[in-house]
C-alpha cells in the first residue's frame, strides 16, 4: 500500500498549488480593481520565470533572492501596459479587451519561444534535489521554499489591503502596486517549475482534468468553488 506515496504526492501538489494560488490571487486582484480579465496573466508570469532564469544564469542569483528585482521589473511592465494600452480600453466592450490581451499573450509566448527556444530550461540550484523529511513526508526543499514564499507574499498582499483599504474611486490608479504583488509569485515559478512532477497521472491528462474542472466551475459555480453566490 503506497500510502506514503499518496501523502507525498498530495503535499507536493498542495505546495505547487500555493504558487498557482498566488498567481490566481493576482489575477483576481486585477479583475477586482480594473474589471479586466487579464488573459495575458500566465504569459506575464512566464516573463517573470525567464527573468529569474536569466538572473540565475548570469548573476548566479537564487530565484528566491531575485524576487524583488523581478517583481520590480514586472511592476514596471504592468504599469507600462496599463498606462499605454489598457487605460484606453476602459470604455470598450469586454470582448475587445479580451481579444487585446489574448493578442498580447500570443506576442509574449511567441517572443519567448523565439528567444529561449522550445526546450524546458532549468535553474540548477545547489539544493534542487535536497529534501526535507518530516516523519513519512519527504518534501522537495525548492518546492517547500516556493510554497512558503507564496504564502508570505499573499499575507503581505492581504496586509496591504488591510492597511490601505483602497477606495473605489482610486481603482484605476492603484493598479500599479496591485500588479506588482501579482508578480511576486512570478519569480517563484521556476524554483519548482520544471522539476519532474512524478505524478500519479500522466501530466497531459492532468491538464485535461484541469480544463474539465474549469468547465464545470464555469457552468455550475461561476462565483468560484468557494465564493458565495450573489
Amino acid at each position: 500500500m503506497p500510502f506514503e506515496l499518496y501523502l507525498n504526492q498530495i503535499v507536493s501538489g498542495l505546495l505547487t498549488g500555493l504558487v498557482y494560488g498566488l498567481s490566481a490571487l493576482g489575477l483576481s486582484v486585477i479583475f477586482g480593481v480594473v474589471k479586466i480579465v487579464n488573459f495575458a496573466h500566465g504569459e506575464m508570469m512566464v516573463i517573470g520565470m525567464y527573468l529569474a532564469l536569466l538572473l540565475f544564469r548570469f548573476a548566479g542569483l537564487d530565484p528566491l533572492l531575485s524576487i524583488p528585482i523581478v517583481a520590480l521589473i514586472l511592476f514596471g511592465l504592468g504599469y507600462a501596459l496599463q498606462a499605454t494600452v489598457i487605460n484606453r480600453l476602459i470604455e470598450v466592450p469586454d470582448y475587445m479587451q479580451f481579444l487585446l490581451l489574448a493578442g498580447i499573450a500570443i506576442i509574449i509566448v511567441s517572443l519567448s519561444l523565439i528567444v529561449f527556444g522550445p526546450d524546458a530550461q532549468n535553474v540548477q540550484l545547489s539544493y534542487a534535489y535536497d529534501s526535507v523529511q518530516i516523519g513519512l513526508l519527504i518534501i522537495d526543499k525548492a518546492r517547500l521554499l516556493a510554497g512558503a514564499a507564496a504564502v508570505g507574499v499573499a499575507a503581505a498582499l492581504f496586509l496591504f489591503f488591510e492597511v490601505f483599504q483602497p477606495r473605489d474611486d482610486l481603482a484605476v490608479d492603484s493598479v500599479g502596486p496591485d500588479q506588482m504583488r501579482v508578480r511576486f509569485d512570478v519569480a517563484l515559478g521556476d524554483t519548482w517549475g520544471l522539476l519532474d512532477d512524478r505524478l500519479l497521472l500522466q501530466p497531459s491528462l492532468k491538464s485535461m482534468f484541469s480544463f474539465g474542472l474549469l468547465i464545470l466551475v464555469l457552468i455550475f459555480r461561476p462565483q468560484g468553488l468557494l465564493g458565495k453566490r450573489t
Partner: protein, 341 residues
C-alpha cells in the same frame, strides 16, 4: 447602420466585387504556384473568419475556441478517408453534424447557465483545450504522433477524393468562400439576421421584446460550428497531416478569427478584406525572414508575433475593422460613404 451591416454595396461596390471575383477565377492561369498557395491562404482566412463572424459578428457571442470545430472537421474527414476510404464530400456532412452537436452542447451549457461574455469565451477555450488533450490520447486517429493522409499520386486531379494539385484546392476554396458570402448575406437579410442584430445590440432588450434569444444564439453557434468544420475537412486534405496540438490549439483559434477582426467584426466583407490584408503581409514577413540565415526556425514564432500585433493594433486604433473605414474612403457603401457608422 443596418445597410453597412448588410454589406451595403452600392453599384460601384458591386462592380468592384464582380471584378475581383473574375480576377480570382482567372488568376491560376496567369500566376505561379506560389501565388496560388498564398491565395489559398487568403481563402482560408476569409472563409473561417466569415464562419466565426456568424457567431461573434452577427449574434454577438464571443468564441475563442473555434479551433475545436475546425479540428473536429479535420479529424472526421481525415479519419473517415484513412480508415474507410470515404470521400471528403461524404464525410463533410458527418463532420458538420458532429461539430454542430458539439457546438450545440457548448452553446446550451453556456446560454442555459447564462455564462456571459468573457466567461463564455473562457468556456469555449476550455472545451477546445480539453479536446486537444483528448486527441493527444486518441490513438485510433494517431494520438500525439499525428494522422497522415496518403499523399496524392501525380495522376491528375481527383475532385471526388480531393487528391491533386493546389489549383484544384484553389477552386474548391474559392467556391466555398463565395458560397459562404452569399449564404451570410441571405442570413442577414432574413428575419434570423434581424433577430441576431437585436441580440448583438442589446440582448436583454431583445429578450424583453419577445425574441427567443436562446434559440437564435443556438442557431448561430451551430451554423458557425458546422461551417467551420467544412474548412477543417478541406484543410486536412490540403495539408495531408494532422497533429492535435496545432489543430486544436488556442493559437489556431486566434488565427482563424484574424481575418474577421482585421476586416471588421460583424460586416460581410470584413473577413474577406481582412484576409486580403493579413495574408500578403504575413507572407512578405516570411520572405524577409527567409533571407536571414538563422531565421527559418524562428519563422513560426515570428508569424505568431505578427498575428498578435495585428490584433492589438486593430483593437487600439481601428476597432470597427478596416472594411468600414475602407468602404467610407472608397465610397462603396450604399449611402455613398456619407456618415453611416
Amino acid at each position: 447602420m443596418l445597410n453597412l451591416w448588410l454589406g451595403g454595396a452600392n453599384p460601384r461596390g458591386r462592380a468592384l466585387l464582380a471584378g475581383m471575383l473574375a480576377v480570382l477565377a482567372a488568376a491560376p492561369f496567369f500566376v505561379d504556384s506560389y501565388i496560388v498557395s498564398v491565395l489559398i491562404l487568403v481563402f482560408y482566412f476569409a472563409y473561417l473568419g466569415q464562419a466565426w463572424n456568424i457567431m461573434m459578428g452577427f449574434a454577438g457571442q464571443l468564441s475563442l475556441g473555434h479551433a475545436l470545430y475546425f479540428g473536429l472537421g479535420a479529424y472526421t474527414g481525415a479519419a473517415l478517408y484513412v480508415k474507410f476510404g470515404l470521400s471528403p464530400w461524404l464525410s463533410m456532412p458527418v463532420a458538420i453534424v458532429i461539430a454542430m452537436a458539439v457546438g450545440a452542447a457548448i452553446g446550451a451549457l453556456g446560454f442555459r447557465f447564462r455564462i456571459g461574455g468573457v466567461y463564455f469565451a473562457l468556456l469555449t477555450i476550455a472545451f477546445a483545450e480539453f479536446t486537444r488533450i483528448l486527441f493527444d490520447h486518441f490513438t485510433w486517429v494517431g494520438g500525439s504522433s499525428g494522422l497522415f493522409l496518403p499523399v496524392a499520386s501525380r495522376q491528375g486531379n481527383d475532385l471526388w477524393m480531393l487528391r491533386g494539385a493546389p489549383i484544384m484546392f484553389y477552386y474548391v476554396w474559392l467556391v466555398l468562400t463565395v458560397g459562404l458570402l452569399i449564404l451570410c448575406r441571405a442570413l442577414l437579410a432574413s428575419r434570423l439576421g434581424y433577430y441576431w442584430l437585436a441580440i448583438r445590440e442589446d440582448e436583454p432588450a431583445a429578450q424583453a421584446l419577445g425574441i427567443d434569444t436562446f434559440r437564435y444564439k443556438m442557431i448561430a453557434v451551430m451554423l458557425s460550428a458546422g461551417l467551420t468544420a467544412v474548412a477543417g475537412v478541406l484543410n486536412a486534405f490540403y495539408f495531408n497531416v494532422l497533429f492535435p496540438e496545432p489543430t486544436f490549439s488556442i493559437n489556431r483559434s486566434i488565427e482563424l478569427i484574424l481575418g474577421a477582426i482585421i476586416g471588421g467584426v460583424g460586416t460581410l466583407m470584413g473577413p474577406i478584406i481582412g484576409a486580403f490584408i493579413l495574408t500578403p503581409l504575413g507572407e512578405s514577413l516570411t520572405l524577409i525572414i527567409e533571407q536571414i540565415p538563422t531565421g527559418v526556425q524562428k519563422l513560426d514564432g515570428l508569424k505568431q508575433v505578427f498575428y498578435g500585433l495585428c490584433v492589438v493594433l486593430i483593437v487600439l486604433f481601428q476597432r470597427a475593422g478596416v472594411w468600414p473605414w475602407l468602404a467610407r474612403k472608397l465610397r462603396l457603401g450604399a449611402d455613398g460613404g456619407k456618415g453611416g457608422a
